[in-house]
Amino acid sequence: MSFLFGGKPQLSSAEKIDAALTEVEMVSDMFNRLSQSCLKKCIPADYREGDLNKGESVCLDRCVAKFFEVNVKVSEKMQGEAAMRQGGAAGAGGMFGM
C-alpha cells in the first residue's frame, strides 16, 4: 500500500511513522477478517478432535486463496468506479492490495 503514502514529498517523522503503522494495521485487519471467515467456514463447531484433519486443512488453504481473489476483485472494481467518476481511465492493479 505504500503508493498511498509514497507520493507525497517531505513527510514529517510523525507522519511517516503513522503511515507505516496504518499500513500494518490494514494488513492485520484483513488477516483478522479472513481468519474469522475461514475458521467459521472450514471448521465445524463440534470439535471431535484437536488436530486439523485433511479436509479442514485443504479448505483453509483454498479459503485463503479465494479471500485474496475477492479482495483483488473488489479493489479493482472500486478503482474502476473511482476512475469513472473522475472521468479518467481505470488504473490497473489493486489499489487495496493487502
Partner: protein, 89 residues
Amino acid sequence: MDSLNPAEQRELSSRMEKKQMKEFMTMYSKLVQRCFDDCVNDFTTKSLISREEGCVMRCVDKYLKGSERLGSRFQEQNAAMQAGQLPGR
C-alpha cells in the same frame, strides 16, 4: 465546537482526516469480508468460480448503493433531529 481557534481547527482537521482514512479502510475490509461470506461457500475449487465472482460483483454494487442511500437518510434524520430537539441552536 464553535469556539475552536484556528490552530485548534487545523489540529482537529488533521486528526479528522486520519480518522476518515481509517474509517474508509475499515469500510473497505468489511465490504470484502461481507461479500466473501455471502458469496463464497464452495471450497472444492481453489479459484473463484464464475457464479461466485458474479455474486461478489453484484454484492459490492448493491452494498455501495445501499450505504450511500443510508448515508443520505442518516444525514437528513440527524439534521431534522438537531433542528427539532435543540431549537435555537
